[in-house]
Symmetry: C2
Amino acid sequence: MDNLKDRVTIYQVAQAAGVSLATVSRVINKQGNVTEATRTKVEETIKRLGYKPSGLAQALATNRTTNIGVVIPSANYVYIANMLNGISEVAKEKGFVLTLFTTGRSREDALAMIEKVIVSHVDGAIIFDDELDEEDVEKINSYSCPTIVVNKKIVGDRVGCINFSYGAVLDKLIKDYYSRPEENPMTFIHVHNAGRLLTHAERRFIASHQEIEKEYKIMNVDDSYSRTYTDFTKYFENHKKGYFIAYRDSTAAAIVNAATDSGLRVPEDIQVVSLIGTKYGYIVRPTITSMVLDWQEVGRRSMYMLIDLIRRELEEKSYKFDAKLVERQSTQR
Amino acid sequence: MDNLKDRVTIYQVAQAAGVSLATVSRVINKQGNVTEATRTKVEETIKRLGYKPSGLAQALATNRTTNIGVVIPSANYVYIANMLNGISEVAKEKGFVLTLFTTGRSREDALAMIEKVIVSHVDGAIIFDDELDEEDVEKINSYSCPTIVVNKKIVGDRVGCINFSYGAVLDKLIKDYYSRPEENPMTFIHVHNAGRLLTHAERRFIASHQEIEKEYKIMNVDDSYSRTYTDFTKYFENHKKGYFIAYRDSTAAAIVNAATDSGLRVPEDIQVVSLIGTKYGYIVRPTITSMVLDWQEVGRRSMYMLIDLIRRELEEKSYKFDAKLVERQSTQR
DNA sequence: TTGTACGCGTTATCAA
DNA sequence: TTGATAACGCGTACAA
């Protein structure tokens, strides 16, 4: 097999084997109606010439790419990487390949990616990107691209969705906390532009406090470990008590570390809970009480639902994952 | 724009605008030779019909897909996710999209993925997968697919590579360690089937010890945090001293945590170094001395090199990243 | 400046 | 069981 040759086409195989391209096509696609003799002859020729079919031409002819588009802000968050892994597992099992459309948390990029998804002719798409709204999903969908949307409630003919519920866990956490004598108000760590999941949680946090008529606090931090660590080290100069609900493990870890390094005790003085629990939660010391979701499973479920949607076999178009509270060392029982 | 309509083709746009498809094509590709009048007319029609070109047909006609294949074992490791992020950044900037081929650390899957890469007609590929060997890369390459290989030395007409050097740092670490009085032998944590990077490091570790005629130890552990933690908790019942070189931060963290939880002091009794340092290294307490590489930058560099390779403009086909030692709390100075 | 006609590498529908 | 031949949707010389 020569190097850097132009790729062999089905036509060249046909010629070399002394048959028509229709026959070669039949052999490739393992359809019947081919004599054992010609089949082996063709297969031998294919091997000899090193022929590989062109996925492009196949896709153009069949109108199926066996590609799934995955729209995410970035693969750089542990929970997103976990989800991606779940998607990828099922995709491999079912013979699909993933095309990645990373938006980078900007509305502009997200819209550009929508265009690319449409142009790329994927067989379906999984969207987990808070920049994208209902109209965007409808747009992508109007180009006959079945879509699973993660973390937003949208249903439609060719649209399914997966959502998360933190409400129950959050409520219980809050009520348990205030059931104890003379506690300080809880503090919710607000991160600017961190997406719907945090926004929903924050809303619920506030509503829950109003319901039981308790005070609460909101604090703004930057979405970076070192920045948060610095800010809290300063904060702990004047504050010696607190219960914090943070978005991610690394944010929670920053608070815990800042507290510990400031000579405060966790959980006696400072308590911290993380909303999106990952591996970090049980590796750091003290370990962090977290709300956990099996993100890998979220990915797997998304992909399974999408495949059903593509085959028009999806019955339940909406699915909900309930977060579970894993209590660890960063809170008191 | 109706929902679920069949997609509008360039031909329908041409007809609706009262021009030929060639003219529409020119407008799409922003080539000149079109009157301002007809251009606006065509553009208006495109918008009205909601026309999007078919990437498939374009690719088939031009022999360019603007897709880059990325072959990795999994996106679930922090350092791989970081690299993926770097690749993705540059890809977006340059108008490419990534297709993910995840192999899952099995030779069989890896070979199947090679086939898929070839069939998919990507414009180029970045391979970071220890299951894949030189012949596999040559194969993929023989189908005129320029390739950047990460963590393996291969050069060829259309092949470039990026490699890592841990040797210098490792040597210095070892020599510094034994320059102090009466130390125990160092222990290298061996993980089965963890890839070339670890293998090379281990080889160097051994060679370096032999050179200075010092004893050393090798320990086998499982590549899982909790398993390693359990094993070491047991181990520390009978061993109260040690210097360990671990593969990943989470392995190192498992050792550190096992030591701390067993009442041993880090770094006075137990010292630990991690080969592949990530964010974990400075989030856990005590922080972990690590050899760090900017994996995001590795990804960016890979993509830049690949683009040059595609354009036949790549001059230096081999690039090396040197690991740097970041000393933290898990070792003594 | 615009249009015609062919090629890209397949699949699929007919006849033979 | 085979083989022409027409799609599939687009780019592009070449001609007008």
